[in-house]
Amino acid sequence: MLSEVGLVVFNGLTWGMAVFLVAAGLTLVFGILHILNFSHGGFFMIGAYVSYQLLVTFGGGSALSFYLAAAFGGGLVVAFLGYVIDRLVLRRLKHVDHAYSLIATYALLVLCEGFVEITWGVDYRGMATPEILAGASFQHGIFMPTYSMFVIGAGVVLFLMLDAWMQYSRTGKLVRSVAIDPWMSGVLGVNTVAVYTAVVVVGFFLAGLAGGLLAANQSLSPALGSQYIIQAFGVIIVGGIGSVRGAFLASVLLGIVVALESLYFPYYPGMLFYLAVALFVMFRPAGLIKQRGVA
């Protein structure tokens, strides 16, 4: 019994933190631009491929430091892409109907898939797990891969850093003020356009970083772009769209739901997740943590 509880918690946290890594940037961008960005999954995928390419090109070996450096590099490349995309596309979507901006970001996702297919081909690529993370430990009757613990740790660290930044730093407060009332912030002398761009760049950086960190967990293929995005959508909607804390809570909660399902009702994997998201939208559309100033 106890080991079952442990198993559900461990697997739930693994799922939840992996999705949170993807959802963090997504919810940041939504919080300030009010655009639900389908292409976040695409840039997550590009981040994964870029880190893979960095490791292959520079022959990094299997040390953890190289792996982290490659993920960081993937994040930087995607952050630069985010700057370009913001200039070319996102900025123009401000005054476009929600439905159309959703479709525009879907078009970007399709473009990402095309770009990956042309650059890396359609074949699956595999990335070696760093040696130190390749093992597993067996404690209290629970099988715990080291890599899963790494993902959980990465998710928690990212959350603490983002939360501290948003809550206590000057720039974080600026971002929140622009999210709540861009007009008033502008009147008070905040360069709102610069804040928008900065948030998009940070959000895309997080997408690329997540791609690099999670790359060892999956086979890389052009389908990767649409794999995590729906889970991430679910998490940020349940959490309260635009809220980092909400996304973190929802990741844990939905992770537990998914883990419970796979233990006790494994016949239709994923079903409980969609049902949970639907129930939340129905009965608590504002999410776990309601953000002010979010449409």
């Binding site: 639900l36 596309v89 123009r92 476009v96 109907d97 929600h98 439905a99 159309y100 901006s101 959703l102 479709i103 525009a104 879907y106 078009a107 970007l108 996702l109 399709v110 473009l111 898939e113 095309g114 770009f115 990956v116 297919e117 042309i118 081909g121 359609v122 649409s226 729906i230 959508f233 679910g234 909607i237 016949y267 239709y268 994997p269 994923g270 079903m271 969609y274 049902l275 998201v277 639907a278 939208v281 129905m282 009965f283 559309p285 449409a295």
Partner: protein, 340 residues
């Protein structure tokens, strides 16, 4: 002048009707063209065109964007195929209509949930999440073939008691698709242009004002949702016997993007927009079919340009050109008049 003739002739209802008739004749002559590849693609195109209009009944008229339209399409496709393969020997037409009803009932359920609470992005996500339920059920049900799909779906025999028509012979099933999709399009045309369509369009413009006029806004949106879901399911029901195989991808949310792409490409404000979009989309897909990657770049790029620069799509662009021509003609006439 030739231009004037075209303009006057094709702007009237008679002109539209003759255009539609010309299109029907063109499609009906496809099986006589050499090579069977084209016939298959055009059959698929007709099904997808109805699928696209079924989406646009909701989006074009009410502005609600459903990201789960593939679920109804797949419910109809799998429902029809499953009923056909049962041992009870259910006639195809019955199976088809029941398949459509399965999609319709599912749409009623989703509509009751989604329209009551959600709007805008939440409606899109809710319809996506509920649509993914269908995908999950199909993918993990033995009776529906799981990931391998349902295989070996035969062209049906229509049994009219007095006589039988074996649709497996020659290209008969192609003509069955033609008739069935033409009837569905005619029905949707009637919905779009009739009283229901007008009320829905008014709701799109200003839901509050329409509510003040004593219209139950939500109920009308629900009508549109159910009509869209049922016709999508009926379009899907034609799919199994045509392709002989159904795969779970038909229910995946990325397949829901297909009618969205087609409608936007063609122009969501026009009834025939999704059809034009479906044709251009099929053509784009066909010429880039051997170039993995390029296909996505072309489709994504075109879509992005449409959203950012040409929200009216092809039909909107054509309307603008027509307007421009008319204005030019008027100024020409004025100049001619002042010269005289």
């Amino acid at each position: 002048m030739r231009n004037d003739f075209l303009d006057v002739y094709f702007s009237g209802v008679k002109g539209r009707a003759s255009l539609v008739l010309a299109m029907l004749i063109l499609v009906a002559s496809v099986p006589f063209s050499p090579g069977s590849g084209l016939t298959f693609l055009v059959g698929l195109l007709m099904i997808q065109a109805v699928f696209a209009i079924s989406f646009n009944i909701l989006f074009g008229l009410t502005g609600l964007i459903s990201f789960g339209q593939a679920a109804y399409f797949a419910a109809g496709a799998y429902g029809t195929a499953y009923l056909m393969q049962l041992d009870v020997g259910m006639p195809f037409l019955v199976a088809w209509v029941l398949g459509g009803l399965i999609g319709g009932v599912f749409a009623i359920a989703v509509g009751l949930v989604a329209l009551r609470r959600a709007s805008g992005i939440y409606f899109a996500i809710l319809s996506l999440a509920l649509g993914q339920l269908v995908y999950t059920v199909i993918r993990y049900s033995d009776a529906l073939g799981r990931d391998d799909g349902m295989l070996g779906i035969d062209r049906p025999v229509l049994n009219f008691f007095l006589f039988q028509i074996d649709l497996g012979v020659g290209e008969r099933y192609f003509y069955f698709i033609l008739i069935a999709t033409a009837l569905l399009v005619a029905f949707l045309w009637w919905v779009w242009h009739g009283k229901l369509g007008r009320v829905l369009f008014a709701i799109r413009q200003d839901p509050d004002r329409v509510r003040f006029l004593g219209v139950n806004v939500q109920r009308y949106q629900q009508y549109a949702f159910v009509i869209g879901g049922t016709t999508a399911a009926l379009a899907g029901g034609l799919m199994g016997p045509w392709a002989h195989i159904l795969t779970p991808e038909l229910a995946h949310w990325s397949y829901s993007a297909l009618p969205i792409l087609m409608s936007l490409l063609g122009g969501v404000a026009y009834f025939w927009g999704p059809v034009a979009g479906a044709i251009v989309f099929a053509w784009l897909g066909y010429i880039t079919r051997t170039m993995p990657g390029i296909q996505e770049l072309v489709i994504g790029g075109v879509l992005l340009v449409i959203v950012l620069a040409l929200p009216g799509g092809i039909a909107g662009g054509a309307a603008r050109i027509r307007q421009w021509l008319r204005r030019r003609r008027l100024t020409n006439e004025k100049e001619a008049g002042s010269n005289a």
